[in-house]
Amino acid sequence: MSIPATHKTRVAFIPNWPLRIGFILLAFYVVWAMGQLDVTWARFVDGLSAGQKFLGRMFPPNFSAEKVEMITKGLLESIQIAVIATVIGIGLSLPIGLLAARNLMPAWIVWPARALIAVCRSFHEVVIAIIFVKAVGFGAIAGIGALVVGSIGFISKLFAEAIEEISPKQVEAVRASGAGFFGVLIYGVIPQVFSRFLGFASYQFDSNLRHSTMIGIVGAGGIGGSLFSAFQRFDYDFVCAILLSIIALIIMAEVFSNYVRALFNDNLALLDYLRNRRATKLSQEKSAGLGAS
């Protein structure tokens, strides 16, 4: 063993100065930015009493028959928008993602494809919805268009990345058997990325459903329109009813897509799925106690 240094020179903890300075700067920034945005304690306190009144008017939520009919109609339209947008979006994302994969395509195809993806990604669905409303008028078509663009931005990018991460050996093997481009695609590439792709697609459906409940605010169809007008009429108990319905719908969609992912990726049947969830919980409890043996 080397000789221990004398105690005076030994430091138990080395201070991380860059981190500390970073935190101090961050604190200054927060104070400055709060001043800029006029975020003050007084406004917060004012807001609390306004919030109380607001919550008071939200509850109980208005689920009268006529309102329920409006909600059902709006939600159905949102679902329709999400379904169609997801199908078209995925349909377009596949070729675009493929074109943007650097390991399969030459650079002069990759860069335009990537630029298109970047443009689609940069703009929020609502901004795109505004442009579509301008182009095709109010209604569901505008919403579908907006969500399709958003889906392209999201899925194409992930899909291109997934393709770039595939193992080249399998592609070589298929190519060596004399397959043409599409043969390589179907036997060498698709099998490797299918399960991840399914994950992206089900995630995108969830996310489109979420967005489809909002684009109505700019007139692009779905429940968002009713929600926005309810806000403008200060019809807060109806607002609350709509929000609760949206939350319920999203929860159901998440449960459904989790199950679909389990069905296709892990080959689980419904009962297995439920059983498996319990089993993983049990094994968690067990491993919580037992480390090794």
């Binding site: 063993m1 080397s2 138990a12 037992l290 090794a292």
Partner: protein, 255 residues
Amino acid sequence: MNPLDRSIQIRGLTKEYKKGVPVLKGIDLDIPGDGITAIIGPSGTGKSTLIRCINRLIDPTAGQILFQGQDLAKLSGVPLREARRRIGMVFQEYNLVERLTVMENVLTGRLGYVSAFRAWLRKFPQDDIDEAFALLDAVGLGNFVNQRADGLSGGQRQRVGIARAIMQRPEILLADEPTSSLDPKTSVEIMEIMAEMAGTRNIPIIVNIHNVALAKRFCQRMIGMTGGKVVFNGSPAELTDDHLKEIYGGEDWLE
């Protein structure tokens, strides 16, 4: 009860992970309050479970674990934490916090005594810091104080693990297969360090161990377990091949 008495009495200890399938089948055992006690036995026979029941990382299904007049099996909340402070533990996989430095890992041995707020600010008492330095020097890691634990070798990690356990100033030390992940030479070094540290501080050790030869070399007392029951309890000299056959089953491996 005599507070200097560091022996443990286990009575009717049973543990079932699944109902009706006991891993420990009513263990009765007296573990002396000095020296090193080895528990040997085949994998999956409940050695780890037994050791983890003592400091209650696992909750036993039934039975008593008596230590200085307290039934450890019945404790919960603050009394349980106070009992755990007095029981050090060394793990097979070292169980260091990878992203913390060696010094921070050793000082986690004091977390039972230092408030969470002070621990967060790393304001440990100077006494503790001095002792941590001394312990790290003693295990030969005096120059690794500010290195992160994920940069250490297995043997070095286990030295940190021992320093952390001793840092608790424990009254008893549990070791769950402390050498099973190490090469033979390092295993002996680790056992030596443990025996030396505990010996000079009068801390009894209970160690789970796979390597019978290593156990015989370091331990004053051996307990053989098989199928969730104790089948041998005596000195290393008393442990015969017949006992080993009973513990591990078969004899081909005995040569």
